[in-house]
Subunit: 336 residues, 2 copies
């Protein structure tokens, strides 16, 4: 019952086999809260893009429990992310999954926790918990985002075939090296960023495609949760249909320029921002070296890159603002 990310291929094979005489696997639900939900975003987008016969949904744990889709049940895989295994809403979702006969895969960091008793499969992911944010000597390919992607990739490949399967695993093999280099590459600009924005009380994040989840996570987990800054994540495809009217010389934007199919959306926003905004921080996946990954699968690796480059900025910002990333006023402090 205990697996590592290396076994995801086997986990999916076992699930598919166990349902062969019962209608097969028809749907894949990605469920979590906050950062754990954001980390599942690329996997859901992969399903939306590459899956033809398998339904997929990305749903907040509490909404999933209170408003469970009619199609959810024994023909479903429920893939949950729960960092320390103690989020009550995600535990409730896992429990519901087990009761309803779904195949429950739990992505988690700790060895032992409350949630694992409800998992048919428990995948322990890697996570950079080191206080030295520049060391970053971990296997980024073992993080929850890639684990969830592999659940999606294996499900599609084993049920209906995935043309770019080998290229995808080549990308997985490359991502750790790319991230390490990119983190070093932004070290100086992160210091400048922290000095520039230390007195702001608001910052927008922007992104698109499978990488949008990283912009969402930076917004809710870092700026809002860890820095108490007002923030909002804007999809670059949506920017020109409302949000862009707030643009001016003072409002700060942190924008992801993805590599892959939605790059044009991001670049269009950047062109506009360069004309009408003055305070822009650009994370460009191409400049940060993502392009050695094959074009057929590169979309799905933007998230891992951005999500692991942000921490370099975050640590500098927290330090400059004298507001440690660990400070909370409500989370784990009061009842809610």
């Amino acid at each position: 019952m205990e697996y590592t990310s290396k076994d995801i291929k086997d986990i999916i094979a076992e699930i598919i086999e166990s349902r062969q005489d019962k209608g097969g696997v028809k749907s894949l639900y990605f469920v979590g809260c906050g950062g754990s939900l954001g980390a599942l975003y690329p996997a859901h987008i992969f399903m939306e893009q590459e899956g033809v016969s398998i339904q997929s949904a990305l749903i907040n744990s509490s909404e999933f429990v209170h408003s469970t889709p009619k199609g959810f049940g024994k023909n479903s895989i429920l893939c949950l992310a729960c960092h320390k295994g103690n989020t009550p809403e995600t535990i409730a979702a896992a429990k519901l999954g087990r009761e309803m006969g779904a195949a429950v895969i739990i992505l988690t960091w700790l060895e032992e926790s409350e949630i694992i008793q409800y998992g048919d499969y428990v995948v322990r992911y890697t996570f950079d918990a080191s206080p030295d944010h520049l060391a970053g000597d971990i296997d980024y390919a073992g993080e929850k985002t890639i684990c969830a992607l592999l659940v999606a990739v294996e499900t599609v490949n084993q049920i209906e075939g995935y043309e770019h399967y080998d290229k995808f695993y080549e990308g997985v093999g490359r991502i750790t090296g790319i991230i390490k280099k990119a983190r070093a590459q932004v070290a100086d600009r992160a210091v400048a960023f922290a000095r520039e924005y230390k007195n702001d009380n608001f910052i927008y994040t922007m992104g698109s495609g499978a990488g949008y989840g990283a912009a969402y996570m930076e917004c809710v987990c870092i700026f809002m949760e860890m820095q108490w800054l007002n923030s909002s994540s804007i999809h670059t495809g949506e920017y020109f249909h409302g949000p862009f009217e707030v643009t001016d010389a003072n409002r700060p934007f942190m924008i992801q320029i993805s590599e892959g199919s939605t790059r044009e959306l991001d670049e269009r926003c950047l062109t506009f921002l360069k004309k009408y905004a003055k305070r822009i921080e650009v994370l460009d996946a191409k400049e940060l070296g993502l392009s050695t990954i094959d074009a057929s699968v590169i979309d799905y690796f933007n998230h891992s890159l951005f999500n692991n480059v942000y921490p370099i900025y975050n640590h500098e910002l927290a330090s400059e603002r004298k507001h440690p990333l660990t400070t909370r006023r409500y989370m784990w402090q009061v009842e809610y």
Copy 2:
């Protein structure tokens, strides 16, 4: 080729029949930009909740064109919303839909526009364009949100059956009366709201379930686009997993308390806000009279109610801030 919302049942029947020997209808894509995307949100959630065998996705028009799902094609329905029929990204999506053999349904307001040439079916929806926001003498059941919902309801019902079909249409029959009453009901509190928040430069919107799209629309189309206020829409299920750390006595929150399955999520946030925030504006669907709609379908009507109650607040706020809702600095003014 020209239809009204009354004919949506027939449109779906015709589409299903036309694909009977070609593999049937397997997927439904809801595509639009900004407010037009937000208006399709409840229909996508309906599919996610009530559909079992039909795939559904909600995708920004530009992302859809640049990153088209592999499953999209002759077995798909493409349901687009385009208010004046002139949004280039949505026109491109409609064109792509036609080229790829999908059944293209265009929801639009104007009689004539560039987009309609690409529609297999054109549904003209109602829209309150009156400058007198309190008159509100339109058929709210004919708005784009309900039209899109009927596309979803008819697709599910005609392909796999929808248990609450009659109750749903009863709800459609009731929503206009409920909205008219609710709009009158908030008139005084909207004046107070405008006075209280006229000098703020930031406001959060909050919501959940099928009604979340209304919180998104209020955020991007009104606060950001029409009032140039910084804003962010927070899902109430996500609030306790990051966003709630920004809560304090000064930051304003406008929160939707839905009726139906996700009400508990919203109420939990409200309880917390009442303790730690001081500036909260509550839109409660129960208090606003939504509950005469049957519990089995009420989730899907929150959006229409909230989306038509917000304008009462918006007009007062615009008037108090002396910033007309029609003022733009970029949209239709500069190249982008």
